[in-house]
């Protein structure tokens, strides 16, 4: 079952200005590396086959020892050429470092990224408190504009990484790291925690949804809305949610204000659940709520021992949080 994000995480293919500069450098170094290995392998193989005197180990002590001259020029020429290639790479490296160090234009948006064992909290910052909101595991950004990221962690070290959009940046306790990225084309870009952070380090994926500025604006407005008041069949689900889930999860506009787990105000609009471990479908959602420890052993959401009817009611309520 593919996780809800494409393209894959191959970073030789890039989709933003920053990642492109890096992937170009990576390609150049890769090709140079392959060439160097090919040359050395050929030189070694040719030397072995052309110069060999015997295939039998016991002949070693019978072969006379000589000291033909001319060896040192191999070292001089070889090291001179290697040094040239190295210095060329260094120059390209320095150029790329400077190019990706700062965004080319003022960032359109600042997202605060907060790492948790084992999920991501995204806080969209704004000078106007009414314009800030929070989401989890899935960030939306407008295309064609640099986005500033302020990353920090709530617990251990993690690393934020969207390969197609640029490099990793570690989330380290007691410091805030700042970086930026930019997407050129609309799409869903997958990322994953890249610094080992404990049992479920493997299941800490990120989806970055890049969309046109208009679509992004619409998404943003929708996210700013608190959850609607529930009626009818969902009231029971909401009550159960308040009783069983609200200690850890927030649903804005309701009494649920827990901080230990992801904000679920618009969880139904997201592509994946459990830090994108599963696609967001009725079946996976039921499975997760019924037994999160089976799906992601060790994660911080306890198994709640719900009755089948309770499970259905909660699941329907959660699915209404669009």
């Amino acid at each position: 079952m593919p996780t809800p994000a494409d393209p894959a995480m191959n970073y030789l293919e890039a989709f933003g200005e920053k990642a492109e500069a890096i992937s170009l450098l990576t390609w150049a170094l890769l090709i140079l590396s392959i060439a160097v290995v090919a040359i050395i392998a050929l030189l070694t193989a040719a030397g072995v086959t052309m110069r060999r005197t015997s295939l039998a180990a016991e002949d070693a002590k019978r072969e006379p020892v000589l000291r033909p001259s001319g060896g040192l020029s191999w070292i001089t020429v070889g090291v001179a050429l290697s040094t040239l290639a190295l210095f060329a790479s260094m120059a390209w490296n320095a150029y790329t470092m400077a190019a990706v160090n700062r965004p080319p234009r003022a960032p359109a948006l600042t997202i605060e990224v907060i790492g948790h064992q084992w999920w991501w909290q995204f806080r969209y910052k704004s000078d106007d408190p009414a314009q800030t909101f929070e989401t989890a595991n899935e960030a939306h950004i407008p295309i064609g504009a640099p986005v500033r990221l302020e990353v920090r962690t709530q617990d251990v070290i993690h690393s934020f990484w969207i390969p197609a959009l640029g490099e990793k940046i570690d989330l380290i306790p007691s410091q805030t790291n700042v970086t930026w990225f930019e997407a050129e084309k609309p799409g869903v870009y997958r990322g994953q925690c890249a610094e080992y952070c404990g049992q479920q380090h493997a299941h800490m994926a990120i989806a970055v949804v890049a969309e046109t500025p208009e679509a992004f604006q619409a998404w943003r407005v929708a996210q700013l809305h608190p959850a609607e008041a529930q009626q009818g069949g969902l009231i029971e689900g909401e009550a159960l949610f308040q009783a069983r889930c609200s200690a850890c999860h927030t649903v804005r506009g309701t009494l649920a204000g827990g901080k230990l787990g992801p904000d679920l105000t618009h969880v139904a609009s997201r592509l994946g659940i459990a830090a994108n471990t599963l696609q967001n479908t009725t079946a996976t959602l039921s499975g997760w709520i019924a037994d999160p420890q089976r799906i992601k052993p060790g994660n911080k959401m306890p198994t709640l021992d719900l009755q089948a009817s309770e499970l259905g009611a909660i699941r329907r309520y959660v699915q209404s949080l669009k």
Binding site: A8, N10, R52, S54, K61, V79, N93, A94, T96, A194
Partner: protein
């Protein structure tokens, strides 16, 4: 330094049978278990180091194979996440600490006195001690693992995940205390290598006539002496953080990043510690099979030393993604490029040796030729990670896992295997089988490349490392299947080597003193050598004492049959540091259980600290001092009789 009576005869003598008998009586230890435990013979410990390191290689290999089965497909459930995390942590620390460096120490402990024409290491008891405490530190960490408390935060052990708050079990304490014990071992061993190198060379073996393996080991030993304190301290502070609530690495007053600096300022030099002696093995042994001296001895030695010195200035390249300032990033990135230049010197020296020599394609030679190419591959992938922006993509992906394996298997394991084919005959008197050897080489070489060459791609395709499973549909499945197949082929190759050693130890062809026509002193004595190594102390007149007949290097001739016999007691000649002029006759200590007891007491002290058993800790500290007292207790036979006249 203990100096023997100087007015007795030190005439050069021919070694006859009576002298050999006298020497044997003086040098041979007790038989039986007690003799086995109390011996201080470096050859014994060399072999024990190698055997122990191989056992850890096998354990680490089995751990890897289990991981590879888990990773052979997406969403596999053979292992729980915690089991996987303990396995990858144990695998990494086993291979890096308990295999890669000790196995090279084994070669050096065995070979140093033989290469240098000495009768033992400068400090034979310290040598025994560093072996025992290495063994016990390994057992200590494995005891945790067997009890279900294996380290689970990787060999790099970053806090705060390693702190009490996130890791309340004793897992990390086993690791921290085990590593402190291990640090004692590597430090003691390093000091011994340095002093032996400086003061125990045969007369005439001036500093520019020393085999490269000893240069590699001594350079690495300086690296150990300067880097291990950082990691021992770090692990100690981590332990106090965990047990007594100090706050060095937590996010209150402390700095999690401080750990990374202390760790990598140790662990990057450590990379050179586990490759420089291996490069030395190749630099010394490849020329034997090319029937010519190594091309560029002097530049290779300088390159060795330069690598180690620069190796202390690049640790930050393990931290390129931690948000360090731009200026530091630029500096460490550039330094990491430059450090490859000395490696290029070595590669071209080896290639030149092949091209201007006439290679005999023994199994050992095949390992060394394969080594050259794998060395290059591990080197260029290293250059890619030196480029900071590229590394910020590559780091913590399988690309880096591929890179470290090309370094550790390509440079360390291949050199060690080739080295065994060369020196196993010296150690046992029997040749390893060459036919099985070819099979051994090709399975290892192909298995290794099938497993790890595609892994570069796994990394470029974005697979992060240290994940216990991965989803379908990201293009990672096929490469992982190939890697798992390759891993099993590689394991089969290692098995072939073990079979070869097992069979040949009894049934191999007799080696004779010098099966390969080698240039250096170890080939001048019998295989295996007598306990006293050389009946007469050799006097050396060139870099290749056994090749002087063909090379005519200096006009003078080394003297291997006539020399000082030193059979008045357990004695060794010490010489001056640069020119290796005879300086003093040193009394050598007899066998003793003291180093073993000291190591046991130190380990028990560690265990008591782990359990907070403070009374036990006090007792074991006292026992440790008691063992040291026994060790150092003055003995008349060891005393200085009169000061040698200074010339």
């Amino acid at each position: 330094m203990a100096v023997a009576d100087s007015d007795r005869s030190l005439e050069l003598q021919q070694s006859g049978a009576p002298a050999r008998e006298r020497l044997a009586r003086i040098w041979e230890g007790e038989a039986g278990l007690r003799g086995w435990l109390s011996t201080v013979d470096h050859k014994e410990y060399g072999k024990r180091y190698i055997a122990t390191a191989f056992i850890f290689l096998i354990l680490g290999g089995l751990e890897a194979l289990v991981m590879r089965v888990q990773l052979a497909g997406p969403n596999k459930t053979l292992l729980t996440p915690e089991q996987y995390n303990q396995l990858f942590s144990m695998h990494g620390l086993t291979m890096i600490f308990l295999y890669a460096q000790p196995v090279l120490s084994g070669f050096s402990v065995y070979l140093f006195p033989l290469l240098l024409g000495a009768r033992d290491m400068a400090f034979p008891r310290l040598n025994a001690f560093s072996y025992w405490i290495y063994l016990f530190s390994g057992l200590f960490i494995y005891a945790g693992f067997v009890l279900g408390y294996g380290p689970n935060d990787g060999w790099f052990n970053y806090p705060p995940y390693a702190s009490m708050r996130y890791n309340p079990g004793p897992n990390m304490d086993f690791y921290a205390i085990g590593m402190i014990l291990f640090g004692v071992s590597s430090t003691a061993g390093a000091a011994n290598f340095v002093v032996t190198f400086l003061r125990a060379r045969a007369p005439g073996m001036s500093i520019n006539r020393v085999p490269i393996l000893t240069w590699g080991t001594v350079t690495a030993s300086f690296g150990i002496l300067f880097s291990v304190p950082a990691v021992s301290l770090a692990f100690f502070l981590l332990w106090t953080d965990r047990q007594f609530g100090t706050d060095f690495f937590n996010s209150g007053q402390g700095q999690p990043l401080l750990w990374q600096h202390l760790f990598w300022i140790f662990a990057h030099p450590w990379v050179y510690v586990v490759v420089l002696p291996a490069m030395g093995i190749v630099s010394d042994a490849l020329p034997i099979f090319c029937r010519r001296p190594l091309v560029g001895y002097t530049v290779v030695v300088l390159a060795t030393v330069a690598t180690m010195v620069m190796g202390f200035g690049v640790w930050l390249h393990h931290m390129f993604a931690t948000g360090i300032p731009y200026l530091a990033l630029s500096f460490f990135s550039a330094a990491s490029f430059v450090i490859t230049i000395p490696s290029a010197v070595a590669v071209f020296a080896w290639i030149a040796t092949i091209w201007t020599g006439r290679p005999v394609l023994s199994t050992a030679f095949l390992f060394f030729a394969g080594f050259i190419v794998m060395f290059t591959l591990g080197g260029v992938s290293g250059v890619m990670t030196a480029a900071a922006p590229a590394d910020q993509q590559l780091t913590d992906t399988y690309f880096v896992v591929a890179h470290i394996h090309y370094v550790l298997i390509g440079i360390n394991v291949l050199a060690v295997m080739g080295g065994l084919y060369v020196w196993f005959p010296k150690m046992t008197g029997r040749l390893l089988d060459e036919r099985l050897g070819r099979w051994n080489f090709w399975t290892v070489f192909l298995g290794f490349n099938i497993a790890f060459l595609p892994m570069h791609w796994t990394g470029l395709a974005g697979m992060p490392r240290r994940i216990y499973t991965y989803p379908e549909g990201l293009g990672w499945t096929a490469v992982n299947v190939v890697t798992t197949i390759g891993a099993f082929i590689l394991a089969a190759g290692v098995l072939l080597l073990l079979v070869n050693m097992y069979v040949s130890r009894r049934h191999g062809a007799a080696a004779g003193p010098d099966p390969w026509g080698g240039p250096t002193l170890e080939w001048a004595t019998t295989s295996p050598p007598p306990t006293y190594n050389f009946a007469v102390i050799p006097a050396v007149a060139s870099r290749h004492p056994l090749w002087e007949g063909s090379l005519d290097e200096s006009g003078e001739r080394s003297s291997l049959q006539r020399g000082m016999i030193l059979d008045d007691g357990k004695e060794m000649l010490t010489t001056t540091a640069l020119d290796a002029e005879p300086d003093a006759i040193q009394k050598m200590p007899p066998d003793t259980l003291a180093p073993l007891l000291a190591a046991l007491a130190a380990t028990a002290l560690g265990a008591a600290a782990l359990l907070h058993a403070w009374i036990g800790a006090t007792i074991f500290t006292l026992l440790l001092f008691a063992a040291l007292l026994v060790w150092l207790w003055p003995q008349r036979a060891m005393g200085q009789i009169s000061e040698q006249a200074h010339v």
